[in-house]
């Protein structure tokens, strides 16, 4: 069934979009990630303009993180104060991201920056995760216990000024790395249409030593607000959020996520991380191939943004 997208100004097959939302939702439930980094390229490859894909996925990420936040809130596993400080950084990062997004679109280099960022981040993070999960698997096979982190141990982050106390996370750290982390993830999220959960969670655990049980809920809340801000800024500055596309993706996504979460409980942690690492890496490689191999069509056309007629 074809449905006309009012902002993208083209019809898409509703079941295809619903299916993409569902498949990505399944993986997001399985791995506990937002799935934006998979959904945005899928939409772009299926012919939806990159600007609309990126802006609309931010809206879809709001929905998927909202459903997670509800579950963690009920179990009181959210550090609201920490989320607030991350959010301050997130809004700054998003604003810079939206500004750069518009600028790059004007210069015609938006696609390049999106591709390059995907290659860099996905390859780096996918590679790290692959290495870490293989090491964990090898160690488990050898019979050794995986050493857990000592909560008292400090690193350079804890020497920074402007310290603040976070009771729920039992933390006393500088706000600088927290605002910085929020800003980087808000910035990337806006440019790439990703929530950044797969970067936020390890950073909170390893860099700030937030207790693992608090991390996912807090990260989801922060992503919810950052992506809501990104949606708003995209709506105002680029007008490329398509609600019809977003709603179709959301419905597919939340249903898929439930099945994914159930499937995820049957797999071991290191197996999950290995699969996720391979998935992340393959998306990165796909983008790298696009950049390195000579394209069949060297030319592209774009209607120059002019004063839009109101209708």
């Amino acid at each position: 069934m074809q449905i006309y997208l009012p902002i993208a100004e083209l019809p898409v097959n509703m079941f295809m979009v619903f299916g993409m939302g569902g498949a990505v939702g399944f993986l997001s439930g399985l791995f506990g990630i937002g799935g934006g980094f998979l959904l945005t390229p899928l939409l772009i490859f299926s012919g939806i303009p990159p600007a609309v894909s990126v802006a609309t996925v931010t809206t879809q990420v709001v929905a998927s993180s909202a459903s997670g936040v509800v579950a963690y809130w009920r179990r009181k596993m959210i550090d609201f104060k920490l989320a607030w400080v991350l959010l301050v950084g997130g809004v700054i990062g998003s604003a810079v991201g939206v500004w750069l997004f518009g600028l790059l679109q004007k210069l015609g280099q938006l696609d390049l920056v999106i591709s390059l960022s995907y290659v860099t981040f996905l390859s780096a993070i996918g590679g790290l995760m692959l290495f870490e999960s293989l090491r964990a698997m090898a160690r488990r096979r050898a019979g050794a216990r995986v050493p857990s982190r000592q909560p008292g141990k400090h690193n350079w982050v804890h020497g920074l000024p402007l310290k603040m106390r976070f009771y729920r996370s039992r933390l006393y750290v500088s706000v600088i790395p927290i605002v910085g982390l929020g800003a980087i993830i808000g910035f990337l999220g806006t440019i790439l249409g990703i929530g950044g959960g797969f970067m936020m969670v390890p950073a909170l655990i390893y860099l700030l030593r937030v207790p693992t049980n608090i991390v996912i809920g807090t990260s989801l809340l922060q992503i919810l607000f950052t992506m809501a801000a990104a949606t708003f800024l995209h709506a105002v500055s680029t007008q490329s959020v398509d609600v019809v596309l977003a709603l179709t993706l959301m419905i597919g996504g939340v249903i898929g996520a439930q099945f994914g979460a159930r499937m995820g409980q049957k797999l071991r942690g290191d197996q999950l991380r290995l699969l996720l690492a391979l998935l992340v890496l393959s998306v990165g490689v796909r983008f790298a191939v696009n950049l390195l191999v000579q394209p069949d069509e060297l030319f592209s056309v774009a209607v120059s943004p002019l004063v839009e007629a109101t209708r």
Binding site: Q2, A66, S67, V70, T231, F232, S300, A309
Partner: protein
């Protein structure tokens, strides 16, 4: 040759006026003794949520009267459907530090956002270049002025022009179909112009030209409006006129959907 044609036209006008009783509609055509009456199947195309493209039928009649000079050449009809004009930037990728990036760009101004040319036979057989260029009969006769100075050398400009046409044809927004205008009789003609799903919205013109022996005898023009309606139009309008409110609505919708899913699939 030019002056003689003009004088013969004057004579015809005089004769026509003297004869009197001719409808005002036919006045201009009467000067050449042929006139053209054309119409389209719908003067408005409404884009709704289930829009997957549509087609319009352009039909008409070549009216002749006693003054028609019998000539051996056949009548030719060209139907040109033109969408609102926009500036279009064509970019070319080049290799830079080992990766393929957009390097050169050329911006063309006043490019029709949609252009369908239907003719009864290949345009270059119908009339000289000057006539075809003036009325945009045929994609090869489309003037594409550049919007502003660019680094692209003039010798290279043709490549950008060709790429623009090629990509527009591939996306279905430009089309040239010679032989697509069919004659139902000596004087009745018809053609069906497909409008693809990605057709840009706006005010279109449908121009019909009657040619014979390389001369434009008569022309007719209709307005065609392609507009989103109902929900689609409202959404677009809201997103552009009240973008802040639109953004807030999108966020609330997303939070509500997420919350609802969290409640429905509650596991504890």
């Amino acid at each position: 040759m030019n002056t003689s044609r003009r004088s013969s036209r004057c004579r015809h006008v005089v004769v026509a006026t003297l004869a009197g009783g001719l409808a005002a509609l036919l006045a201009s055509g009467a000067a050449r003794a042929e006139s053209l009456v054309a119409d389209i199947s719908a003067d408005e195309v409404r884009i709704e949520s289930n829009f997957t493209g549509t087609r319009i039928v352009v039909f008409g009649e070549i009216a002749r009267d006693a003054l028609t000079v019998g000539r051996p050449d056949p009548y030719d009809i060209a139907v040109v459907v033109t969408g609102p004009e926009v500036d279009v930037t064509t970019r070319r990728k080049g290799r830079f530090l080992g990766i393929w990036v957009n390097r050169d760009a050329e911006t063309f101004s006043d490019v029709p956002s949609f252009l369908a040319v239907h003719t009864s036979r290949p345009p270059h057989e119908m009339a000289p270049r000057s006539v075809l260029e003036r009325h945009r009969i045929g994609l090869h006769f489309l003037n594409l002025p550049i919007a502003h100075a660019s680094d692209v050398p003039i010798t290279d400009r043709a490549n950008f022009r060709a790429a623009l046409l090629r990509l527009r044809v591939a996306s279905g927004l430009f089309a040239e179909r010679s032989g697509a205008v069919t004659f139902l009789s000596e004087s009745l003609f018809r053609t069906t112009v497909p409008l693809p799903a990605n057709v840009p919205v706006g005010d279109y013109t449908v121009s019909t030209y009657l040619l014979r022996g390389g001369t434009l005898l008569a022309q007719d023009e209709q307005e065609l409006r392609i507009a989103k309606t109902g929900f689609e139009q409202f959404t677009f309008w809201l997103a552009h006129q009240y973008s802040a409110a639109y953004g807030l609505i999108a966020i609330l919708l997303a939070i509500f959907t997420g919350w609802l899913a969290g409640v429905i699939f509650r596991r504890d």
